[in-house]
C-alpha cells in the first residue's frame, strides 16, 4: 500500500516526496553535486563517506533518472570521470527540499 492509497489530503505532501532522492546517500550525493560545477568520484567519496561500490551504485541510479551526467575523459593517459548534476537533477532537488519543508511544517503540535 502506497502512502497515496493509505491516506487522504494530509499525506499528499509525503506522497510527493521523490523516493530516488529521499534515500540518504543519494540525497548527499545530489546535495554535493548541487553546490559545485562538477566533481570526480574521489571527491564525492571523500565528501559523502560512501564506499566506491556504494557511490557507483547510487550514481548509476541517479544517471538512469537523468539527475546526473557521468562524463568520462582522460587526464593525460589516465582515465578520469567527472560527475555533474543535470538541470533536471537541480530542479528535482529543489522540489524535494520544497516537499520536505511542507511535510515538516505541517507536522502537528503535540
Amino acid at each position: 500500500m502506497t502512502t497515496r492509497e493509505a491516506g487522504g489530503e494530509g499525506v499528499k505532501p509525503i506522497g510527493n516526496i521523490d523516493r530516488l532522492i529521499h534515500e540518504p546517500a543519494r540525497l548527499m550525493i545530489l546535495a554535493h553535486l548541487y553546490v559545485v560545477e562538477s566533481a570526480d568520484f574521489l571527491f564525492l567519496m571523500r565528501q559523502t563517506g560512501l564506499t566506491w561500490g556504494n557511490l557507483s551504485s547510487h550514481m548509476s541510479k541517479l544517471e538512469a533518472a537523468g539527475y546526473v551526467n557521468i562524463e568520462k575523459g582522460f587526464k593525460g593517459k589516465k582515465p578520469h570521470t567527472m560527475l555533474r548534476i543535470t538541470d533536471e537533477g537541480r530542479a528535482a532537488l529543489r522540489e524535494y527540499q520544497q516537499s520536505m519543508r511542507q511535510v515538516l511544517d505541517e507536522l502537528p503540535d503535540r
Binding site: E23, P24, V35, V36, D40, W52, G53, N54, K61
Partner: protein
C-alpha cells in the same frame, strides 16, 4: 521552518576540505621568513629565492598531495565570484602600493609612526578581505602578524622587526606542516577503484 539540507554548509565544507591542506600556511610562512631574511642580511635575493620556493611548494604540493587525496572539483559560480574578489583585492592593493611608492616623501613627509600605522591598516585590510572571501580564518591571524612586522620595519631601525618576521614565519610554517600532516592522515591516498573502509552502511 526547517530545511533538510544546508547547502551553504555543504559547499563550505567541500571548499575547506579541498583548500585547507596546510599549503597556504606554508606559503605565507615562507613569505614571512623570506622577508625576515631579506631584512636580516639586507639582500633581496633571499626574498626572491624563498618566494619562488613558496610558489613551487604550493603548486607542486597541491598537485602531488592534495588532489590525489581529495579528488578534483570545479566549484560553482558563487565560489568563483569570491575567488575573483580575492584577485581584485590583490590587484588593487598592488596598484595602490605602486602608486604610493612613486609619491616622493619630500612632498608628503609624514612621521614614521603615521606611515607605520597606515601600512598596518592597509595590510590588515588586504589580509582581512582575502581571509573573508577565501573562508580562511587563520589568514586573519597571519595578516595581523604580517601587519605588525611591517609596521615595525617602518617605525624601528633595529632587529625587532626581523625577529617578528622570522618568528611569525616560523609559526605559520609549523602550523602549515601540522595541518598538512593531519590532512595526509585524514585523507590517505587510495588507488582509484579500491573501496575505502567505513562510509554509510546502506542498501541501494
Amino acid at each position: 521552518m526547517t530545511t533538510p539540507i544546508d547547502l551553504k554548509k555543504i559547499e563550505r565544507k567541500a571548499w575547506m576540505s579541498y583548500f585547507h591542506d596546510g599549503f597556504w600556511d606554508i606559503f605565507i610562512g615562507l613569505l614571512m621568513l623570506g622577508m625576515g631574511f631579506n631584512i636580516l642580511f639586507d639582500e633581496t635575493v633571499w626574498y626572491i629565492v624563498i618566494l619562488w620556493l613558496a610558489v613551487l611548494v604550493l603548486i607542486v604540493g597541491r598537485r602531488l598531495i592534495t588532489i590525489p587525496r581529495v579528488g578534483r572539483v570545479k566549484f560553482g559560480p558563487a565560489r568563483k565570484v569570491k575567488q575573483r574578489k580575492v584577485m581584485a583585492v590583490g590587484a588593487i592593493s598592488l596598484l595602490v602600493g605602486l602608486v604610493l611608492s612613486f609619491i616622493p616623501l619630500s612632498v608628503v613627509d609624514p612621521p614614521q609612526t603615521v606611515v607605520a600605522a597606515i601600512a598596518w591598516f592597509w595590510i590588515m585590510l588586504i589580509f582581512g578581505l582575502v581571509a573573508y572571501f577565501m573562508d580562511f580564518k587563520r589568514l586573519y591571524a597571519y595578516g595581523l602578524l604580517f601587519a605588525i612586522a611591517m609596521a615595525l620595519v617602518i617605525a624601528l631601525d633595529d632587529l625587532i622587526p626581523t625577529i617578528v618576521f622570522l618568528i611569525s614565519g616560523g609559526v605559520a610554517l609549523l602550523i602549515g606542516l601540522v595541518v598538512l600532516i593531519r590532512f595526509i592522515r585524514k585523507y590517505p591516498r587510495t588507488a582509484e577503484g579500491l573501496p575505502l573502509e567505513g562510509g554509510i552502511d546502506d542498501n541501494p
